[in-house]
């Protein structure tokens, strides 16, 4: 099976369902073509690749470590390895993508970047990259998210970025993307759109994947070096899908490695408050790509819900749609409550407070532990991408666990 998109940006076989593409206003096509060419040329240029590598190493603190979480493993009943993207500069895997795209922006001679953000992690990463490269930066963020991620808004401001709250529609990530696209249509001659996830029109799904694929490339080598073997399964949370595809890519050709993506199940997939796009969505076109979309009978986008702003998106990257349909990867929903339980458990057992997004992956790994052990034997290993750290989520955690409210400080774990 080929996991690459064709020249038009479609994943999948020519005779089956094709995912992705570029369903976009004509006004943006020239810019997307220009980006596609510039990105391919850059990736074929050893100097660009070496520069990207050096920035990741010297500035962003990569490669991130692969850590055997022994106490968590005891609870889980399988060996759990954590890819510590939470230790990266700015606190999440997102820094890889933005440094790649910002380096490309410099190479293309553009002077301004725009970005959308949900949790604020991509916005912070974009503001950081803009500061690093001396670019002008504007970040669009749903008004609901500016409230639940106030700390990240402050960080972006401090880094010199302009943050514009978006009130239209559901005032969350999808609407921030809409507003960023509207900005881009008017500013495309001097502005690059640093898209925050492996979704959107071609070439973004492929380009963002390539900038994030270090997660899996590093983890695969680390697993061989440190443990002398590959993991039996890899797991990541899936919002738009950048951290997940960044992890999965290195393992797709390893037929013995099972691949799991965990979507935000919100209040539960039997309610209408969730963001389990692959599980509950249907094929459609959103933000330039054919993919699974949470939509009503008329093709109107349905508002998603998740306790984690970064997973609160009614679409998903098209390569994930293809991996799901082809059966190479399995996608399962994890509820808010399961994720928060896992967040508490990881905090208590390992001294690591994960981002709520990443807590979905931890919860998912705990859920599949028995299944993986049954299939692969007693020393089964699950490699989990810990995509980010939880500092930004403390407000939500305080509310959820009533932290500091009473003298009974016990958190379920």
């Amino acid at each position: 099976m080929s996991f690459e998109a064709d020249g038009a940006g479609f994943f999948g076989s020519a005779d089956g369902q094709r995912w992705g593409g570029r369903f976009m206003p004509e006004a943006l096509v020239a810019a997307l073509d220009e980006l596609d060419v510039a990105w391919r040329e850059a990736m074929a240029d050893p100097r660009f690749v070496a520069d990207f590598d050096a920035i990741l190493r010297e500035y962003a603190g990569l490669p991130s470590s692969l850590y055997y979480a022994e106490r968590l493993s005891e609870k889980a009943g399988v060996r759990i390895l954590l890819k510590r993207e939470d230790l990266n500069h700015t606190g999440a895997h997102k820094i890889r993508n933005v440094l790649g795209q910002a380096l490309l922006t410099k190479r293309m001679g553009k002077t301004r970047v725009i970005a959308e953000t949900g949790a604020g992690q991509h916005g912070v990463a974009s503001a950081t990259a803009a500061a690093y490269f001396g670019l002008d930066c504007t970040v669009y963020m749903g008004a609901v998210d500016t409230r639940r991620q106030a700390l990240n808004v402050a960080r972006m401001n401090l880094l010199g970025a302009k943050v514009i709250p978006v009130d239209s529609g559901s005032a969350t990530l999808k609407d921030a993307i809409n507003e960023a696209l509207r900005d881009w249509v008017a500013s495309v001659d001097h502005t690059a759109y640093l898209f925050g996830t492996a979704a959107g029109p071609h070439p973004f799904p492929s380009m963002v994947r390539d900038f994030c694929r270090g997660i899996g490339d590093e983890a695969r080598q680390q697993s061989l070096d440190q443990f002398g073997r590959l993991p039996d399964a890899v797991a990541a949370c899936v919002g738009g899908g950048s951290n997940a595809i960044g992890l999965f890519t290195a393992f797709l050709d390893d037929a013995d490695v099972d691949v799991y993506g965990f979507e935000a199940g919100g209040d539960g997939v039997d309610t209408d408050r969730h963001a389990a796009t692959i599980h509950a969505g249907e094929s459609g076109v959103l933000h330039g790509a054919r993919t699974y979309v949470l939509q009503d009978e008329d093709g109107q986008t349905v508002e998603s819900h998740s306790i984690s702003a970064g997973l609160d998106y009614p679409g998903v990257g098209p390569q994930h749609a293809h991996l799901a349909q082809s059966g190479r990867a399995k996608y399962l929903p994890v509820t808010d409550a399961e994720a928060m339980d896992a967040l508490a458990l990881l905090s208590r057992t390992e001294g690591i407070i994960p981002a709520i997004e990443s807590a979905h992956a931890v919860a998912g790994a705990l859920r599949i532990a028995d299944e993986v052990k049954a299939a692969k034997g007693p020393d089964a290993t699950i490699l989990v991408n810990l995509s980010g750290r939880g500092d930004k989520d403390m407000e939500t955690a305080i509310d959820w666990f009533h932290l500091g409210e009473t003298d009974d400080q016990e958190v379920r774990a």
């Binding site: 206003p25 006004a27 096509v29 529609g169 500013s187 959103l286 330039g288 939509q295």
Partner: protein
Amino acid sequence: MSVARAFETARAEGRAALIGYLPAGFPDIDGSISAMRTMVESGCDVIEVGLPYTDPVMDGPTIQTAAQQALEGGVRTRDVFRVVEAVAGTGAPTVVMTYWNPVERYGVERFAADLASAGGAGLITPDITPDFGQEWVAAADAHDLDKIFLVAPSSTDERIAMTTAECRGFVYATAVMGVTGARKATSDLAGPLVARARRTTDLPVAVGLGVSNGDQAAEIATIADGVIVGSAFVRTLLDHASDPAAGLAALSELPRDLAGGVRRG
């Protein structure tokens, strides 16, 4: 009925055609029908019926507000066909302007069939290009519907040629790099774009985005075969939200001003 006839009539009268846009279901379904009929009576040659969509990336705040209001009012895709039928009944060629996903969801072939049987002339598709819209091209051809794709100032000559070759009815040239919404000055990007489009096609070329008054319409009419106005109509209704009768009265004034413009140009 194709929009071609409306352009021929306008050309015979030595003027540009006036194309007016409103979303179906805004302020409500019957209200949108009355408003569009008023626009026809006051001088619009072609009506563009918007299909409200949750994620209108090519629209500015004015049309976003109207579309959101229509959706909150419960407008459905099938209601859009009802509006088309009522407006086409006036004799004015009526096209639907829609983002792609509602069409795909409704079923592309079924959408074309229902649009044709409602008397609609065709479709304007702002977020797909012919290279990704072949399913629509086939359905439109089967039902003899106009296919109106957009060209932009950023389009290469090759893409303009590819796009206009796939259009039927007219070619939609966006006057500015940007989204819908009234603008104070007309853009100097429109003229060169229309000229580039004309080099590739004999179809009428209409210019939209940012035209809101008679003077701007007059300027565009000197360079194009049609003038497309949307946000200014929507704005007029939004400004009279509490008094629908006054809204319709104000709405009837706007085409008169614009129609004066297309005749001066």
